[in-house]
């Protein structure tokens, strides 16, 4: 049960981080959103054997981490949370794709290369998404999506789902606390109580959601989740976006590690 409350506090950590006042945090949310979307597009556009080409893209999260002064550990922990799914997706590749790939004087299966590529790509994309939330916050992100003319119903769904997760978790924590106090010798919830507990939880969450919705309506909510306006894009925002666009395009069309490698080997020769 304490784990659930811990998770609740941890979940809000990204929101807390988003309230800092660094160079990255001060950027216009729209700019950060566009930079992240283009980054994700470039990362996933690489072929499955092209690990070398992706490597320079590591610079983007490293730069954002540094400039936004974000703590590395909690964000890496969140990336690790999704790693079992990614490993689950990629682990069969080494068994199915057994073609041989020669690296220097070693031979390795191509399956391992694709597995590594999946790990790298997912690691980078999840990091970029987390960094976007940790430097912008969900509410401002919602406003940026609205600026891109994403229909308000989708943005509202996203924001309210994010909000209601904590409502649901609070209800779960309360219910489990009440249960555990009356079942001191049990570890977890006995299966005979699963059905009624889940049912009760669902009904209570409906009730709570209804009250929250009523409270929103009473304060003039009419379908649009207003999170305050933003100023216009400043020169700094444009420069940030332009620099990253240029970098992503360069990385996509030129294999930079290869160029550096041939440059060095050329010099040595």
């Amino acid at each position: 049960m304490s784990n659930i409350m811990d998770s609740l506090y941890n979940m809000r950590l990204l929101d807390d981080l988003a309230r800092q006042d660094t160079v990255i945090h001060k950027l216009h949310p729209l700019v950060k959103l566009l930079a992240t979307v283009s980054y994700l597009t470039v990362v996933v556009s690489f072929g499955r054997y092209d690990i070398g080409g992706i490597l320079p893209l590591v610079i983007y999260p490293v730069m954002v981490f540094t400039l936004a002064e974000l703590p590395v550990k909690p964000i890496v922990l969140r990336i690790l949370l999704v790693s079992p799914f990614i490993i689950g997706i990629g682990i069969l590749n080494p068994f199915f794709d057994k073609q041989i790939f020669v690296l220097g004087d070693r031979e390795i299966s191509r399956g391992w290369v694709t597995f590594l590529s999946i790990l790298l790509k997912s690691g980078l994309t999840v990091t970029a998404a987390l960094l976007l939330i940790a430097t912008t916050g969900m509410d401002r992100l919602g406003s940026a999506l609205r600026m891109l003319k994403i229909p308000r119903i989708f943005v509202l769904q996203l924001l309210l789902t994010y909000r209601y997760i904590s409502v649901l978790m609070e209800e779960v924590a309360r219910t489990l606390r009440a249960y555990s106090l009356r079942a001191p010798k049990q570890k977890g919830v006995h299966r005979s109580a699963w059905g009624s507990l889940a049912g009760q939880l669902l009904l209570r969450t409906f009730d709570r959601a209804q009250r929250i919705y009523e409270a929103m309506c009473l304060r003039g909510f009419a379908g649009e989740y207003n999170t305050g306006g933003f100023g216009k894009l400043r020169i700094g925002d444009w420069v940030y976006l332009a620099v990253w666009f240029l970098f992503f395009i360069t990385v996509r069309f030129y294999n930079i590690p290869m160029l550096i490698g041939s440059l060095i080997t050329g010099v040595i020769r």
Binding site: D16, R19, D139, L218, R219, G220, T227, G228
Partner: protein, 251 residues
């Protein structure tokens, strides 16, 4: 100032399961009045508040604020003038920061962001929690949450404040602070509560509800001392008016 008047005429409400929660209530609350609504559990207090706020619509009768009837069409205007503080502040506070929560109402009414900021800071200062503006609401104490919930309604600058159990689940000092705070407002106030002492200290007028009907409506100083009436409605006279439990001195 008739536009601050709240009038309820022959109000009836049946829940979908057929339970008649409100049976023919009528009263009128004028500008600047502080009205306490009391009654036993299930008497119909919360249903009445929901009807006043237009969350529920009456089966019969009508509610009007000023000279405007509460209907679906007039709701946006009505809700700008009637601010409601919920019993559980957690139902009301759900944004990332206290500031955003207090700004939620004014932003929904499409106010200019400078005006929103002005109102938010003003409301937070009024309830004395300006220093908490960047905190996450779920990390606040019970009293702070209550103050934030009140600020989130004050920022809409309502004419009438409606409060459901504003002192519930508060420690004595927080309760006193909320009472002092509410006492300092010049708004028309409608308060439902089981905290009879709070009603005694804060409201000039009291409406007693029993089984969906108005059992009494009049000056607090007369109604709350009427032990017979209070007993019949499942209530008690305020502790402040009861005999001393230690020495037995009669009040």
């Amino acid at each position: 100032m008739s536009h601050h008047k709240l009038e309820v005429k022959d109000l009836h409400y049946n829940y979908p399961d057929g339970h008649e929660a409100v049976k023919g209530m009528s009263f009128c609350i004028h500008h600047g009045e502080s009205v306490g609504i009391i009654g036993a559990n299930g008497a119909g207090k919360s249903t009445l508040l929901m009807l006043l706020m237009g969350v529920l619509f009456p089966s019969e009768g009508e509610v009007s604020v000023g000279d405007v009837h509460v209907t679906k069409k007039t709701l946006p205007m009505i809700r700008q003038r009637l601010g409601m503080v919920f019993q559980d502040p957690d139902d009301q506070l759900f944004m990332n920061t206290v500031y955003d929560d207090v700004a939620f109402g004014p932003r929904n009414y499409k106010l200019d962001e400078n005006e929103v900021e002005k109102r938010v800071l003003q409301a937070l200062e009024l309830v004395g929690i300006l220093h908490l503006k960047d905190r996450a609401p779920f990390k606040l104490s019970g009293g702070e949450k209550r103050a934030a919930a009140i600020a989130s309604v004050l920022s809409m600058q309502p004419d009438i404040l409606v409060m459901d159990e504003p002192t519930a689940a508060l420690d004595p000092k927080s309760r006193r602070r909320v009472m002092d705070l509410l006492g300092s407002f010049k708004h028309t106030k409608i308060v439902t509560s089981h905290d009879i002492d709070m009603i005694y200290g804060m409201c000039d007028r009291t409406i007693v509800i029993k089984k969906g009907e108005i059992a009494a409506d009049g000056a607090t100083s007369e109604i709350l001392v009427n032990a017979e009436l209070m007993e019949a409605c499942g209530l008690e006279v305020p502790l402040a008016l009861q005999n001393c439990p230690v020495c037995g001195t009669q009040k």
